[in-house]
């Protein structure tokens, strides 16, 4: 009997856990819908959104550019080592560009964005809640979702694709530095093969779509976690951690789904 009881308790706990997660997902979805519907202020007074683009985007520039440069440089080193075994070292530019534009640009920029800007957004909104700044707005008949959350959401959604593009550009430049300047791959071959192989619709646009989706996911998670955080020091710190963990997992999972949809079945690149 004890085993049956223990099993039942575990099942109950599992059920409760699943129900609470589904409930929270539903709550987050309704929050997103409300946020989008109440985005009038953020779009009409675009100055508010521009300030958030500065915080989420411009202030993330250094980490994005430096990381992009190093990722590109490593890609070139590793890529050259493998390609030259097959006598294809001239294709180094293609390898670097495709890896960055299709995958590493959106994904790594997304992960960096989640830890740099996402966590900051969650902490800021959570602390505003903990110090009653959001309640004060409610009392002044100002909707905090429209005034505080929506500009941050749109600021993040606009910043993310731009950051991913800059990450890829910087990575390609890093690949050029190492591949052409350091190792000595022919510059003409590096650029011309890249130009011939990278397709606007299939590679660049798909990469941009990915970065937009990641931007929406990360910023949505960040603003929701901040708004939903228990108004205590511990609550805000946990919410900030959850933002980074959940958005990183979301980026990787979404990347798999998007890659499966974009790059299979069409025969491109095969």
């Amino acid at each position: 009997m004890q085993i049956v009881d223990a099993l039942r308790q575990r099942l109950e706990r599992l059920g409760a856990g699943v129900t609470s997660h589904v409930w929270r997902l539903g709550f987050a979805s309704r929050f997103l819908a409300y946020l989008v519907v109440h985005s009038g202020t953020a779009l009409r007074r675009f100055r508010l959104t521009i300030a958030e683009i500065y915080f989420a985007g411009v202030l993330s520039l250094i980490i994005i550019l430096v990381s992009g440069l190093f990722v590109g440089m490593v890609l070139a080193l590793q890529g050259y080592d493998t390609l030259q075994r097959f006598g294809a070292s001239e294709s180094l530019g293609v390898l670097v560009a495709l890896s960055l534009v299709r995958e590493l640009g959106p994904v790594v920029a997304g992960l960096l964005f989640a830890s740099r800007a996402g966590s900051a957004i969650t902490a800021e909104i959570g602390l505003m809640k903990a110090t009653e700044q959001l309640s004060a707005m409610e009392m002044m008949a100002v909707d905090p979702v429209a005034r505080v959350v929506a500009p941050r959401f749109w600021g993040g959604v606009i910043s993310m694709p731009l950051l991913a593009a800059l990450f890829s550009a910087m990575g390609i430049f890093g690949g050029y530095l190492v591949g052409v300047q350091l190792i000595g791959v022919d510059a003409g071959a590096f650029w011309s093969q890249m130009q011939a192989a990278v397709d606007l619709r299939n590679d660049i646009v798909n990469g941009i779509i990915k970065s937009i989706v990641f931007g929406i996911a990360v910023t949505w998670i960040a603003v929701f976690e901040g708004y939903d955080a228990p108004p205590t020091a511990e609550g805000v710190s946990r919410a900030t951690t959850r933002t980074v963990v959940t958005s990183s997992l979301a980026i990787l999972a979404l990347d798999f789904v998007l890659t499966a949809l974009m790059f299979t079945g069409g025969g491109h690149g095969q």
């Binding site: 505003m128 110090t131 009653e132 700044q133 309640s135 004060a136 409610e138 009392m139 002044m140 008949a141 100002v142 909707d143 005034r147």
Partner: protein, 269 residues
Amino acid sequence: MQQSPIVEIGNVSFGYDPARPVLRDINLEIARGSVVGIMGQSGCGKTTLLRIIMGAHLPSGGTARVLGEVTGRLDREGLYRMRRKMGMLFQFGALFTDMSVYENVAFPLREHAELPDDLLRDLVLLKLQAVGLRGAARLMPTELSGGMARRVALARSIALDPQLILYDEPFTGLDPISFGVIVRLIRELNDSLGATSIIVTHDVQEALGVVDYVYFMAAGRVIAQGTPAEIRSSAEPFVNQFVNGKSEGPVPFHYAAPDYGADLDLAAA
């Protein structure tokens, strides 16, 4: 003709959890132009009552009529319309930390009125002058003392010339000078704006000096009411304990606990 009360709470009950009501059958009326105190121990339900008055919670029983509107019948727009006529001072000010003092006071004006910049500036400086902090307009909230932050928050809450000003524990953590300043401001602003003020506090002695009328709460009920003089001389044991700060009385020193000896296992020894 006597004016109708600005706040009428009729048989209001409320609980976050229906099994454990926080407010039970509360009745109170707040006359226009007065400064009214709602006092009681921490956890007696006074802040919840304040949240009912501002429409942040809706009563689960009874009606709350504020500024002529029954809060339960208002939609979000209606609630916001009502709140534009109210000002609220939060316990620790709740200033926006990313904005200067000037921008904090300008915030409600910018959100609700499209004013030319020079008029906005005059209004903000007028409000800051009223709380004595015109010279601090360019400072950030982190550069202010606790008392100054609360005065800035007060200037912000009166920016739209409210008819009703709510104070949530306005005296907590203030030094005697700041305290004196806040007491003076509550009275002066109330009278000069022709507003009505409600102060929720457990700092009884301090508050009794400024209010016209007091509602005393315990365990979710109003247990006494009257003018400050009536409250000071109240025979109600709880009010007496509270006003005089006695450690023993209807509120025991010890939190409910099992028998001390049994807890220490003395019986077994």
